[in-house]
Symmetry: C2
Subunit: 758 residues, 2 copies
Amino acid sequence: MESRFKIVGQDVPRTDAEVKARGKALYTDDMKLPGMLHGQILRSPLAHARIKHIDTRRALGLPGVKAVITGQDTPKIKYGNWRLFPDTQDEYPLAVDKVRFIGDEVAAVAAIDRDTAEEAMELIEVEYEELPAVFDVDLSIKPGAPVIHDYCPTNISVNRKIKYGDVEKGFAESDYVREDIFNTHSVSHAYLEPCSALAQVDLDGRITLWTSTQVPYIVQCLLASTLNMRENDIRVIKPFVGGGFGGKMELRAWEFCAAFLARQTGCPVKFTLTREEEFITGRRRHPMKIYSKVGFRKDGTLVAKDLKIQLDGGAYNAMGPTATFLCGNFGAMLYRYPNYRFHGEHIYTNKPPASAMRGFGAPQSLYATEIQMNMAAEELGIDPIDLRLKNAQVSGDEIPDVATISSSGFIDCIKAVAEMSDWKEKRKSLPAGRGIGIGCYSFISGGVFNWFNTQYPFSAAEVRVFSDGTAHLLTMASDIGQGSDTVLKQILAEELGLKMGDIRMTSADTSMTPQADLGSWGSRVTLMAGNAVIDAAKKIKEPLFGAVSARFNLNVIHDIECVNGRVQSKSRPDYGLTFGEAVAMVQKANRGEPLVARGSYTPRGKGLVTPAFGFGAQVAEVDVDKETGLVEVKHMWTAHDCGTVINPRSVEGQLAGSIQMGLGYALSEQFVMDGGKTLNTNFVDYKMPTASDMPPSELFHVETYEPEGPMGAKEAGEGLASPTAPAISDAVYHATGYRCMDLPITPEKILRNLKKNK
Amino acid sequence: MESRFKIVGQDVPRTDAEVKARGKALYTDDMKLPGMLHGQILRSPLAHARIKHIDTRRALGLPGVKAVITGQDTPKIKYGNWRLFPDTQDEYPLAVDKVRFIGDEVAAVAAIDRDTAEEAMELIEVEYEELPAVFDVDLSIKPGAPVIHDYCPTNISVNRKIKYGDVEKGFAESDYVREDIFNTHSVSHAYLEPCSALAQVDLDGRITLWTSTQVPYIVQCLLASTLNMRENDIRVIKPFVGGGFGGKMELRAWEFCAAFLARQTGCPVKFTLTREEEFITGRRRHPMKIYSKVGFRKDGTLVAKDLKIQLDGGAYNAMGPTATFLCGNFGAMLYRYPNYRFHGEHIYTNKPPASAMRGFGAPQSLYATEIQMNMAAEELGIDPIDLRLKNAQVSGDEIPDVATISSSGFIDCIKAVAEMSDWKEKRKSLPAGRGIGIGCYSFISGGVFNWFNTQYPFSAAEVRVFSDGTAHLLTMASDIGQGSDTVLKQILAEELGLKMGDIRMTSADTSMTPQADLGSWGSRVTLMAGNAVIDAAKKIKEPLFGAVSARFNLNVIHDIECVNGRVQSKSRPDYGLTFGEAVAMVQKANRGEPLVARGSYTPRGKGLVTPAFGFGAQVAEVDVDKETGLVEVKHMWTAHDCGTVINPRSVEGQLAGSIQMGLGYALSEQFVMDGGKTLNTNFVDYKMPTASDMPPSELFHVETYEPEGPMGAKEAGEGLASPTAPAISDAVYHATGYRCMDLPITPEKILRNLKKNK
């Protein structure tokens, strides 16, 4: 079928590809300003302690040190992304009374260079009163456990319940019920660019902050509130960002400290974290303890699910409340559960805070869903593929008040991977030590929830067009390496009938781009910012169509289009003007006023969760060495439904990245902790798969048309982060009989199991 | 009378004062980019020559040299500000065929540092064929004179005629007619910041140019055209600018070369002129030869004026066509001339091009007007003050199809300076060697003419307001040191009832600020950009008024205002909301859309010249040393009418600067030329008055209300540049009997005259 699109659907090269490949992209740490100071943060060496006294005098006396601050010097305002529920805001930019994990921020220095700043660290004297600490959720919620935050004596900071249907009745009606407990572990985002922030203060007292962030608008608002300033006296600019994966979506201590110290010293101040700091103090994926009970009819039809998840949140809420909310929603996705109950608890421990990470509750929740599905299939004597086909969510499925699935290509995805991988044959005939397994996913295309309590549209765009045939797209949406700038340009080029080179773009500058955009997370940018771009483009086209239809006496409703750099009749393309000529005509009729339009998007009438769901299925084939327990992934087959594929090459990039992260999550990555202390703080000890570990893989696009998405598109960025671990895990079981209930699947666990089963 | 304004009319400190005083303002040359190259221009040592051959190979071979270009490497597109009349565009960015003055741009180099670039200059071999040159307008227009531009065999590039009434009939009806010839000389703008331009090219081929300019939009358009690019693939940003005075209002060679070389080398390239280059090649004020014939009735009533002006334009038109046009209009201003005729000729010579300079034809034209007025007064036996009062233009005066004077405080100005200076007494009783004299002016508040042929409004503004009670003003208007950013902020603060600190501003960035603004020249910014700001502010107020009046049931027509940070009832101020609350209310009712408005201004129905005229009068008292001929200015009294005074301190600053420039123009500044060669190229040899030369001065504001101006305001920046020279000249005559007909008034001329009269 010939596409109705010209640029959407094409392998348009990423607009940032060349500048990055040539090393010319400026990241925050590349920026230097005259008189710039270097900042450094002093961190707690204790997991739990009261700060009795901090003496900064010796540090301040060191030549080259310009300022030293502690929490006492700050306005002592707590922050957190859930502004709608201020109770959840539990973190100070710098610790005021207590430290709650090893790495907690205690003081900050600004000095003429990094060496001096580091030397000053040694000279700050902190007197602590050490407190008993707790590192395990089970112990943390026991009566008498150390209380980590005074406001929360139970250490359970968030309770989240979801319920529909009647679960007890459902189980009573089930022919087959099973209960399992899964444990998932914590991993690092391991983005290539460590966090960095540079602040400058003008003489009016206004602050400009360049920072490696996914959420310029959120940083603007929270920084203003912690500094006790007005939002618009803060300008946040996102330079090129080397990955975020959820780890850069909150205000962080160094952003606050850069701004505060710049104000105090009158000089620009930059903080850049070391990789070691990133591993010690960077946010990480939530470990979860997942209790799941499911009931089926004999024929495999799902009847009920009862899910209870305890999240190990670490020392602060961070994005944990959202994770708690979402993992309960993910538990109800993918398959039709007529009766469903969820209870999530977010629990404090004296560990580095967990927070948002690619998939955001789905990799954990869906690991349980998918493994349990495979376990049930075996016991029910149904092929896992068939069991999934029977229960798959399809277009039009509705969870009352929660979500409507306006498009689902899930069944086609399952069928596609089964066929691509030769599933039926391989599932039967593979030799010992070789196995094949399946994992599936569904994911959100951005959130409907507005816990940040923005007063603005969720996404916004401004489009300016010019008589030279060019357009300027302005949006606060943030390209953090995922390629959203390219995708948004494609959407605009398509809508206006222009070429990519006709469009210039300004993005992610809170002062220059239209209010607002909630940032890059939850796979929201393509759908939400894309819709805002289309909204603006339609407003641009209205007067252009009006002028050209008047000039050529065309039917403005159906006989006019923007295509090939022209505004012209569909039926008689010679009736028309170049795009630039049409713009000039509109301008001339309007006293020369430039032709500019603003568009926006906020999901409405789309339930509580998300405007649109992506789907997909993945099959992994593995080879397990019986001597060493090492798993080698031989092949991956993926079929996914992201609606209209706007940029196939970018989607392939998302897949490659997802498999890489999924491999690490399944097999090798984990934080090695000694109590609250992170022991593996570099890329030698933290085992992340490299390019040479990547298996061959194949991708199949199941194209649906999502009515709520821009040109039919929905998410492609995060859903793919979930299926890899369960697919590999199921393949390992197929190869060895070892069913992993606690990630990761290490050689030790496999060997132990093989011995046991001998 | 209590002012109806709260911020307008106040001595609000300039918003750039502190940052400049602290040395923290970044000018173009302060900017450094990674990998930046330094550019240098090779200039012609000959006044007139054909370029036979340029060999750049040795220069290119010098280590550290990255590129060498000549005119042959460029697209060879001529440019000039009069786009509406392409015939007047006579200059290539780099000379292609001929050089026409000493300093003409021949080649450019980009090298790793300035020293290397300078060394490379020596290695470029240019073979010239020298041509006969001409340096005097009389010789230039003689048959057989060297032809400077092939297209213009007469060397007269512009002929401009103005005529109304019947001049011959007027002279026939006059009781007293006199004819005089005046010669004025050339002076330098001598801005403190030499020209500087820095260009960077992104990988899409788009160019960003930071440049010390008065006209970002004009540079954008002309740079695009000379590079054969689309306007919007060029972004021009004006950093802080250290003065322009008309000398930075065209595209110049280094701006083109920076962009061209950045594109060629892929590296950022910066050019910064030396002071010597500025004196050799910088634009300068037009020398004019002014023939003026005026006829009066016995009672002093002006009947007719015949004015012929020859402008020595130097080697290129530059802004000469405008000067030719305007000096004819200035000749008809200030007084009522029932019959008027003007013929202006712009004449090429092989000297550095003259161009726009503060006053732009007025200091020359009005010098003749005012001196001749004083000569006539003496012969008619009427006091110069009384002669002026009799003929002064008043509110409502009309020159059909040319101009309507919608406000004039001229008569009050004349009366005020007469009283302040004790004119009647001093004119009679001063001792020998002491004298008092008068000079007056009228000036335009921006031009109605659109020779640049912009498709956009003449000025535009965007205002964004926020629920935190702040506003963001965006405009392409250019603060070049005159303080327009402060004035525009005052206007917005006044209109919205906010404080200065509530407003942040982005200006003069062609990519981010609304299209368009014609730049800072012709005293246009306060009136035109000010009107655009008010237009935008009114559009902001509309929905705010609507919401608040609905909420409190107020009469939206007359009972609501923005004042003191609130939107409230005039009669019951407690009925109202804070500005931020009102914004939030409007946003909430409009799906969170940010509240943004655009405004613009283009003069309509205001004749051919300007929307509004400023007026003023000045009296100087001097002491002339009979031994040395040195003139010491003892005191200056000034009364002026700029309509509503928006910022008194800024107007005083304009006055101080004007007196300083007027002193130099009258007494000490001039280019010493040896044929086409400028001999005084530094501040030791070029005699500019310093702070210690400044006389005490007093200023009186005659406030009128200009209906076309924002809040009643009109020009204050350039008119004041004209009266000082005639006032001093008249005072010197009063003191010594020496009437200066050819500026400047040097001690040599005074002594020669004193001897002659002995």
